[in-house]
Amino acid sequence: MTDNTPEVHEQLRGIEFADKPEGPIAAAIVAGGVGAAALGLFTTLAEASTDIKDWLNWNDDVGPLSGKTIMAVIVWLVAWAILHAIYRGKPYETRRAFTIALVLVGLGVLGTFPTFFQAFTAD
């Protein structure tokens, strides 16, 4: 959706704009939220389960942080690829995507907050 007031229209005269749908932007924004939420999820799961923590220990020097971060990046990129394929030609507005992303990023921050995830520490 463009800003179409007469004043803006006049000011934009002479500037060339490529006609691009907003769908890919919405896809990228939601995928970013998915990546953040995935990081929070893996962080909390690793704390809650020693089996998951051991599985995420992909590198002995780095420890479980190696698996948590690589998995979060993989989930983010896969989600982005899927959402991009779905929305690439669509005029999907970013307002709703942004709201979804904010909630997902909030969950990601919660999941990576020590006071929260340490409450799930396995015995």
């Binding site: 800003d3 490529a18 995928a31 990601g108």
Partner: protein, 189 residues
Amino acid sequence: MSFTDREWWGLIHGMGLGSLFLIAFAGGLAGLYSLRPEWVTAEGVVERVRRLKVGVVTMAATAWLTVITGTWIVYPWYRESPAGDDFAGCAGLSIPDASTCSPRDFLLSDVSGDTTDWHHFGMEWKEHVAWISPILATVVAFIVVYYGTNLIRHQRVRRTAITLYVAAFGFAAIAGAFGAFITKVAPVK
């Protein structure tokens, strides 16, 4: 007057990439903020958008380099455990020692005051939350590169990009601040 290899990497991770990140963020934010119809001309917008692309892509690339060097190069030195389960190797030390007491050992041993929470809260949050920054910075870089001059006539998208950009900086700032504080208390030597 010299640095160990570990100190050099700490400097590259924190000060070198951190400074570049800050500069790129400032330039990118100024570019995004000023991308308004009343402030641009047809002649100036092409150059301005090109500069904006350089700024946001640089910030995203710097954010990735910072978390990768931090996690895969500096962090392993931080989390070594040469001191043993009872942290005996830290006894009598005022700063960590690479051969007997890693920074993590040092903080958990409490040999230099009440330092446990620097690890349990500060480092635990820093090492995780930092990774949200490059993800969000990459989203913003994609928006700017993909949409280009369209950001001028789609002000809602521009404002969304600004919010995500500031959030990316905010998460990096949390990680950077705790990194600086922890380095002050227990430097990687």
